[in-house]
Symmetry: C2
Subunit: 111 residues, 2 copies
Amino acid sequence: MLEKILRVNALYDFYQPLLTPKQQEYLDLYYLNDYSLGEIAEKCSVSRQAVYDNLKRAESTLEAFEEKLGLFRKYQARQVLLAAIRTCAAEWDNEGQAELDSVLKKLENLD
Amino acid sequence: MLEKILRVNALYDFYQPLLTPKQQEYLDLYYLNDYSLGEIAEKCSVSRQAVYDNLKRAESTLEAFEEKLGLFRKYQARQVLLAAIRTCAAEWDNEGQAELDSVLKKLENLD
């Protein structure tokens, strides 16, 4: 469950602007402010089921955007490459230079 | 005009998966394969005006996605940072290390 919460939060970071205001409101309340479904239902004057359905749809929408654009996947890949750059930079020599170059090429071709 | 063509092509690279199949087809023909509006109209058995309207809408949609996600803007910013990394790497010393570190931090915070 924690893993799912972390993933939805990460995808929300990347795709929030593409969601509807209502989807953003429910995700903010549920995932960022830790409201329960019942609390959101009461706050928004809708049924608990309606909140649940909207959250599920919003989560599917986020996964669909990730499937199409892969922003979170690319972000994670960039972090790996950046860590590699740091490693290269930490032990700098001619060999390290060549290694850094190859990392930079991968980074540049990422998107 | 060239500047506009280059921008639409760049935005299309980032947001193509979010466009409708028809939008993708018209943009492919017009911007990637250099078809004229008339040629696309004939190929797709629609009016020249319909092709024009669809292309305009597709271009607006691409700009709207860029307004929301800024993928092309972030990509350009990354390229600048990567060039800076290359410069740092080219003249490596302790001072260069500190400079490289600050560039990497910016790069990591980009998205």
